[in-house]
Amino acid sequence: MVSDLFPSAALPVVPVVMVALSLTAAVLIFPMAERRVRARSWVNLVAAAIKVLLIAALVPGVVGEGLRPEFAAPFLPGIDLVLRVDPLALFFAGLSSILWLLTTIYAIGYLKGKPHQSRFFGFFSLCVTATVGISFAGNLLTFLVFYELLTLVTYPLVAHWGNAKSLQAARIYLRYALGGGVAVLLGVVWLTMTAGPVDFAEGGASGVAELATSSPGTAVMIFILLAGGMAVKSAIVPLHGWLPTAMVAPAPVSALLHAVAVVKAGVFGIVRLVDDVYGIEVAWQLGVLTPLLVAASVTVIYGSYQALRQQEIKRRLAFSTVSQVSYVVLGVTMFSMAGTAGGMVHLVHQGIMKITLFFCAGLFAEVLGAHKISDLRGAGRRMPWSSAAFTVGAFGMIGLPPTAGFVSKWQLGLGALDSPHPWVLGVLVVSSLLNAAYFLPMVYNLWFGASQQDEHDDATHHAHSGTPAREPLALLAPTLCTAGFTLLAGLAASVWFAPLEIARFISEGVFG
């Protein structure tokens, strides 16, 4: 059936087209004059839409028929740049392309009338190029190339406002990310020299398995280098310091950084490392999974605890990301099939939930000027739609049914019981309680808090309390979409193309 959609000769080109799409968009956008809003928006939207369609067209072939479109170009002596579409790649690319489309719509609305849009959207497209490249990377070197590219192109996005504070944040971000990048580079060099060029393969690369039996010490050292480097981007404690400061970036950037791009690239790398480079069996025998599991557990709890202490909306969400992203690592390292599926499905679920919350935070900040949690009081009456979306996202984060978050946590819980580490269930419970403790007050403030205008001088705000404020459609529509996805993914979790089912499918492949 896929042969109807793509002639077989064209198949290998598909991943290249995917990467080239956003790259072309970027190249087209950079030289555009500031005022050509329309042309810019069109380029952005068309590229994003084509990409979503391409991914959708690939799903039946890759998941159903087991096709693996692959493209290879020589890059370094003995090593190719390889782009390959496998289910996990498609899973991550699907997430990023759908959220790219929505975030683009949101960003067009958000930046309306603000300066440097060409630069913003140019780098934004490059950022997506890097993300797609990361997801389709077929070996470690290709992964590394796009991983470093991501670091570079997100730097101007974090520094976008160009004031001292954002430059400082961008500098901190770059310091962390490059440090991690160098660790990954050293790990890749070492692994390539000891185990040969490493292609991603379900169940682990054969060269690495040999290395693990012949010299397990080296294999462990390399794993530490690689996982340590990727832990920076995935903000695992104590390498999470850059994430909360990077909150100075424009709202769509924060949304993208937290939901799909940077943090997810790190986590995706860890998933690839555990499942497709070392193979979960080999990694388990080497004994490297448990330390990672413990680090993830600490991050989950610590992130939630820090989130509880924050009074700014964006900072609270940032620490929430620190905590939530580590669920993925938790699932992948607990060494059970259900757990791996839980971790992978959270990769997508956390993405759509967190992007909803950041969209909402951006809306509250734009419309009401609300930056602190106390500013949210009474916002429910003035911005009912945004508040509803926020509530859905927050419930999802806590893990209440019928949201996507519930599905993830349920699956992770099943995995924990099934795994050698049942204590992880305790981590999940404690973390959910903490999640509730920091999200429920926000939700309460939204709907039941006395309006802030009673205490504040309303000169700083746009409208009077109680009267509904105008929620810009370009911002609201993507927000409602992702909130809808959050509900859908929870309600229809057992449909064959739902994230959960695909995650289970991938997980079966991982465990052979």
Partner: protein, 489 residues
Amino acid sequence: MTAAELSLGAVVLAPLLAAALAAALPHTARRALGVGIAALVLLLTGLLAVQTVAGEVTELALGGYPAPLGIHLRADGLSVLFLGMTALVGAVVTVFAAASRHTHQAFWTLWLGCWAGLNAVFVSGDLFNTYVGLELVGLTAVALVALGGRGSWAPALRYLFIAVLGSLLLLVGVGLIVSVTGTLDVVQAAEVLAGRPDAAPAALLALTLITVGLCMKLALLPMHAWLVPAHASAPSAVSPLLSGLVIKAALFVLLRCWLWLTDSSGALSALAPLAWGLGAFGAAAVLIGSVMALRQSALKPLAAYSTVAQVGYWFVAFPLLLEEDAAEGAFIGIVALALGHGIAKAGLFLGAGYLKEAYGTDEIEQLRGAGRQHPYAVMGMSLGLVGLIGLPISLGFTGKWNIATAAVAAEHWWILVLLAAGTLLSAGYAVRALAPLLLQESPTPGEARISRNYRSVPGLCVIGLGALTLVTGFGGVLIAEALEVGAPW
């Protein structure tokens, strides 16, 4: 005579004749001549490259006299790679200079002469022509620095002293080789040396002299002090040529002597102390050069110190050239790093010079927000810095990858640590140089409306070099294949 043989001679003679012609032409005609010659050299180099990549070493004996008497030209893989890089960077800088209002009248004669010298060094088959070519490069380079006005004369003179001292050491080394082997031809000399183990001490002494002399021209660490003022005070169009191309000529000769002369002569193992000494100085250069770059407040000195650091990387890999299983990787790595540096540093210096011409200063603090007005120049500089840090996709990354894998193969772990430290430090000075340019304030406050400079040719030249930095990053395999042509092993 085939087209490739013809172009082998023409890449040297065309710019040389043009240099003489330029002195007689009016100023505007010089610009046209320069651009025309740039296009011609690019074309000729392309012809040569096609021939070489196909696996053939092009040779030409000028005037028909065979070695050792005649002028013998030879283009193997190494030659063609450096020729190609020089042609690309040279062409872009030529366009920049032709479009810039600040280009000095004498620039054209000197630059075309310098280009002829560079090409002569790269295609020379014997050490005599190499020496003459290097001298032509040195003399014109000193004169080019001196075009920068009063502030540049003292640095130019300092450069001149070092250049002459280095050349004399080189000359004595070459003389020693001639007196031992009776020939100037590199390949013939290597053959003679291979047959005479008793000549090894003399060869070692000669190679040491040559190495020290070339290291002066290359500004390896203890002898680096001349480079910073010379490269920083040179005119905008000159600094990229000095940092990107001129020092590469010395590196080329050094590689030629180390890998071709010593082939199988047994001298290679005796070179170990020298190689380790160079490696140690290289390591110090990487660290000290980067830290000094971090401490600069102006763009051009920062870029110059970055050159000092980058020179260090090449020498860090020298001990690897002696290890059997790592030599090839290290060689590829050094060449890739040097080529990548040529393009990336030229882009950085060209951007810095562009901004200096636009604002009258290269103090980073006073250029705050320059990126608003000159987006292409600043973006070109950023891409150049990407290459200098060694992030993918650039030749800097390819080079570091090759050196790192060679270091793992030879189990010299300190090189890995050094590469990592150098990468992070260079990222540090990259941010230091770039971040203020990206600020939203205007460097010329009071100017209400900022016009964005999208159309200026010099700006396009800068971003052109930036783009080349990335595009050439895909050439890693090509470089490895090209180096196989006429390789010493």
